[in-house]
Amino acid sequence: MRIATLIQARLTEALAPTRLEIIDDSARHVGHAGARPGGESHFRLVIVAAAFEGRSRLERQRLVYAALGDLMAGEIHALALTTSSPSEAAAP
């Protein structure tokens, strides 16, 4: 299964995000350590979820890492995260 599909399934189940963008940045890292043929090694995620409300940046990212589980130690080489609560995402 594609890594992006796995990421989407795991985050949807764990965090029920109201917005989830999964951007495969692997093409920008071709030839770089950790890059694999076929891409899907470097990702950027934009996540809006009520589960982030009232939690620190560290706690939010730990929730994401926990949801992704073994993907973090294997398939995913790099992951950039933008995490917001619904109220923060609505703020101008």
């Binding site: 350590a33 940046r57 560290l58 990212q61 730990r62 973090m72 790099a78 950039a80 995260l81």
Partner: protein, 114 residues
Amino acid sequence: MNEANPVFARIQADIDANPVVLFMKGTPVFPQCGFSAQVVQVLSLLGVKFKAFDILADDELRQGIKEFSNWPTIPQLYVKGEFIGGCDIVREMYQSGELGKLLRDKGIEAQAAA
């Protein structure tokens, strides 16, 4: 904290002995990863002196630091023994001015964000 891993004592001693510690890939002059390079850049913009450890040159540290911090990615920034975060968090805190404030509140010389 799990005391079983012998590298934990070394990491604890390093973050106790140095006010600002960056665990990174490569060195501040030759970072081997864009995320590590970004954190080095932020610390440089703030004019902060820091101690860097190259985890690529130390396999024991490479695995140990992830378990020690309960954080699966590199770079990792510590200030006065406290884990601050990785690249995303450091960059967001720099842009909002929080990082400079946190450093100054802890008695570390830092320029205000531009």
